[in-house]
């Protein structure tokens, strides 16, 4: 049956290589917490 989390089903990402991680900027990570799209809630 449908569950509350169904629309949220996704998969995990692989972890980055050392150099990729060293260059990574956390500011590009997104969350839905501040999303004002009414469809999201």
């Amino acid at each position: 049956g449908a569950t509350a989390t169904q629309k949220n089903i996704q998969s995990r990402n692989w972890f980055l290589r050392d150099e990729e991680w060293a260059n990574f900027k956390d500011s590009i990570i997104t969350s839905t917490r501040f999303n004002s799209d009414p469809d999201e809630n």
Partner: protein, 456 residues
């Protein structure tokens, strides 16, 4: 009664049902912590009706239902809190001492303000190391300091976990570093979720992991140091490029001091490699184990960081835990890695592999009996695992970023791509079933066996 099975059954079901849905109310006076134990087989939900409540430094929103399972934690009332809770366990609280005054809150605030001051006066932030005996509150202190660091100002401290038995943003067996750029997930013992394919309710975190693979440091102290070195070097290159994280500094959690060698050379190593300029030890003066350890640690720490070695009492909210609890946390972190959590369900991918498809290495365990004594110059070498039900069934294996045919010395310290779970091994057909977190073929990479098993 036993002749009326129908009736007995109904009563049992009703009991469970009523307990789960009954709303309980609790008032937590200002400055008090409410200790909570939610066993693995039960659930609890908490709704803060009014007041400011924190879980390890992260504030809970009012009128939001938070769910908890398999976790010992506590709620701290910064201001008087009124809450409602429901649960399948009628007594989730720690009996007799569930509501206690938070005597150690002031030490945590003072530490936080010292860190804050160091951040505002130098581009190279504080690198704080938290040490102490088993169960003294090290991880709780690190989590609280991480939360406070981002609460009032836009800092982004690097949380570093050097305790391989503890799972933070990762399955167990790893040492890890994670920049904390947004609030931690109050519902999860592993602090939050690592990156997934889409946006999640809470901002995910991007850790770097290095595999130790064993449980106890004593099983291969050299590999522990080597794993730590490769973590320290990638952290340093991140800090060079990321001035915000550099200024915010590192908050470093450690294994219980009892797990280190007698001469504490691992501690010296950590202080040097991670450029520690602040050491906090959690210890009680009326605790014999603590005073003995303190005597050993003090001269050593003072010689390395001088006045930036401070002792504070063990955190007063700690709940004694045992191996059973530690294992259940490790199990939930593995489950979380593959299946996600109540907030974000993940769909792992199951596939069939031939024995020949996998190359699995294994770190040396110098404590395991039955194995021939390991020569000193071979202790860092990996050995190849011969696949059989007894060697790999239910095992958590680490998939490295190195090619399947890479030399073992390159595999030993390779970056971690991810983890797989071997769910079934069929010796006759020489096939196995493997669970992957990401859909697609099994990567053509070398794997390392961990000491951790997970039975679904």
């Amino acid at each position: 009664m036993s002749f009326l099975p129908g009736l007995v059954e109904t009563t049992a079901v009703t009991d469970l049902y009523v307990d789960t849905n009954e709303v309980h109310r609790e008032k937590i006076p200002q400055g008090t912590i409410w200790k909570i134990k939610v066993p693995a087989d039960s659930k609890m939900t908490i709704n803060i009706v009014s007041g400011i409540a924190e879980i390890f430094g992260t504030e809970l929103a009012n009128n939001v239902e938070y769910s908890f399972s398999n976790w010992n934690f506590s709620i701290y009332a910064v201001e008087e809190v009124h809450l409602e809770w429901k649960g399948s366990d009628p007594h989730p609280i720690v009996e007799d001492e569930d509501l206690i005054s938070n005597r150690t809150a002031k030490y945590i605030y003072n530490l936080h303000f010292s860190l804050d001051k160091m951040r505002s006066t130098s581009f190279e932030g504080p690198n704080i190391l938290v040490i102490g005996n088993k169960g003294s509150g090290k991880t709780a202190l690190c989590r609280t300091l991480s939360s406070y660091s981002i609460k009032f100002k836009a800092y982004s401290p690097m949380f570093v976990n050097l305790n391989p038995q503890e799972a933070v943003f990762s399955p167990p067996g790893c040492l890890s570093a994670t920049p904390i750029s947004d609030i931690l997930d109050v519902e999860l013992p592993i602090w939050g979720q690592s990156m997934t394919s889409g946006a999640t309710a809470l901002h995910t975190k991007q850790p770097i992991l290095k595999l130790f693979g064993l449980e106890m440091i004593a099983e291969n102290p050299q590999r522990y140091l080597q794993t730590m070195d490769s973590l320290a070097s990638v952290i340093n290159s991140r800090l060079e490029k990321d001035s915000l994280v550099q200024r915010s500094g590192c908050i470093i959690d450690t294994p219980p001091l009892g797990q280190l060698s007698d001469d504490l050379h691992e501690l010296v190593h950590i202080i040097q490699k991670f450029r520690i300029n602040f050491v906090v030890m959690l210890a009680d003066v009326d605790n014999e184990e603590d005073t003995a350890t303190l005597e050993k640690v003090t001269p050593l720490a003072k010689s390395l960081v001088g006045d930036f070695f401070v002792k504070i009492p063990r955190l007063c909210g700690v709940i004694p835990s045992d191996d059973v609890y530690m294992r259940s946390l490790q199990r939930s972190s593995i489950r979380e890695y593959f299946y996600g959590n109540p907030g974000t369900a993940l769909s792992p991918f199951s596939l069939s592999l031939d024995f020949e498809d996998l190359v699995i290495w294994e770190p040396k365990n110098v404590l395991s009996n039955g194995e021939t004594a390991v020569e000193n110059n071979e202790i860092l070498n990996l050995s190849q695992v011969s696949i059989s039900p007894s060697s790999v069934q239910h095992a958590l294996i680490c998939i490295t970023h190195q090619d399947k045919h890479a030399k073992q010395e390159d595999v030993a310290n390779a970056a971690i791509l991810g983890f797989a779970l071997i769910t079934e091994v069929n010796e006759k057909r020489r096939k196995m079933r493997v669970l992957l977190p990401v859909p697609g073929n099994f990567p053509n990479n070398a794997c390392i066996l961990t000491s951790y098993r997970y039975l679904e």
